[in-house]
């Protein structure tokens, strides 16, 4: 575990939309690490504030209207940079990621081997219990990403990433919805940011399956990407 000072400079950004059932567990899991937690409430119909108000040292940001996960992440990044973050981590609110994986993503950054680390459930030692349909979608997604970005990663759409300040400065996500995962890759390629994939676990619970992306939303992501390429 990092010492206190260093952990203070790590900002964990959690985009949040109506995840009231699990958000408390997710955050309580993160607390022992002493990271700075930035919760970006993306216009949820029910504010999580009441569930979380007794937890100390938590930054709360509220989008007044629902913009999408990409927009929430970018808001968190802007905020964390303003607060002087050294390292920024994006983390899903639905309990898919393990807080213990963050450290292994931070290590290459601290050793100056990479500027951004992206978690992968498909690398060796990475774990997941994805359904067959999802695995196929993610496989197709790899090729779609490769087609759009020139980067061929083992995991197309993983919400867990860690980056240093230099890298975070270069991201300006314009895709408000889910295509931002690919937009990260576009920016990595364009700015020649050093990246590394790190094995990590993705836990699919009944809850996260219900809340998360369906296989069909990948079609929407694809069209968002086509339009992104056309209009940017």
């Amino acid at each position: 575990m990092l010492n206190q000072n260093k952990a203070n400079a790590v900002f964990v950004i959690i985009p949040f939309y109506n995840e009231n059932t699990v958000i408390r567990e997710v955050i309580e899991d993160l607390l022992p690490y002493n990271y700075q937690i930035v919760l970006v409430n993306d216009g949820s119909t029910k504010s999580p504030y009441n569930i979380l108000k007794d937890i100390d040292s938590l930054y709360f940001l509220h989008h007044k209207v629902n913009l999408g996960q990409g927009a929430a992440i970018q808001t968190g990044i802007d905020f964390a940079l303003q607060k002087g973050a050294e390292y920024l981590v994006t983390f899903d609110a639905d309990g898919q990621h393990l807080s213990s994986d963050i450290q292994s993503l931070l290590e290459p950054l601290q050793n100056n081997e990479a500027d951004i680390c992206i978690a992968s459930r498909f690398l060796e030692k990475g774990m997941h219990n994805a359904t067959k349909g999802r695995k196929i979608t993610l496989k197709v997604g790899r090729w779609v990403n490769y087609f759009f970005t020139g980067l061929f990663l083992s995991d197309a759409h993983n919400g867990l990433r860690a980056m240093n300040r230099t890298a975070a400065d270069k991201f300006n996500l314009k895709e408000n919805r889910m295509a931002h995962a690919t937009e990260f890759l576009i920016a990595i390629k364009k700015n020649k940011i050093r990246y590394k994939e790190i094995p990590a676990t993705v836990v699919y619970s009944d809850y996260s399956r219900k809340k998360g992306q369906s296989v069909f939303s990948s079609i929407r992501i694809f069209f968002d990407l086509v339009l992104h390429k056309l209009f940017e």
Binding site: V40, L52, K53, D54, I55, D56, S57, L58, Y59, F60, L61, H62, H63, K64, V65, L67, A71, Q74, T75, D78, F79, Q82, K174, N176, L227, F231
Partner: protein
């Protein structure tokens, strides 16, 4: 004058009035609009004009030529509108984001 001619010219007239009420400030817009209206009315009243143009361009009928060009124009309009929606979305995002950061709370 056949029924369809009356129908179409009335339609054009209504659209023209509507636009004139909204765009009366800019001379450029008015000139463009007048030209378009004149062309539309001319094509409606004398469809043979379009037939002649169509034949010169290698299209069988005037109506087909109008149809093909409309498709092109609609594509253009859709793209323009889409670009504008994206721009609007970005502006909204910017405003909402600024708000969120300015009003950040800490427990």
């Amino acid at each position: 004058m056949t029924g369809i001619k009356i129908l179409l010219t009335t339609g054009v007239a209504f659209i023209a009035v509507y636009f004139f009420l909204r765009l009366r400030n800019s001379i450029f817009d008015i000139v463009i609009l007048l030209l378009l209206i004149a062309a539309a009315v001319a094509f409606i009243l004398f469809p043979d004009i379009t037939n002649t143009i169509a034949n010169k361009l290698g299209v069988g009928r005037g109506a087909d030529l109008v149809f093909y060009t409309s498709i092109l124009i609609f594509w253009f309009v859709i793209l323009k509108l889409y670009a504008r929606i994206r721009r609007l979305e970005q502006i909204i995002t910017h405003v909402v984001r600024k708000d969120a950061i300015d009003e950040a709370e800490k427990n």
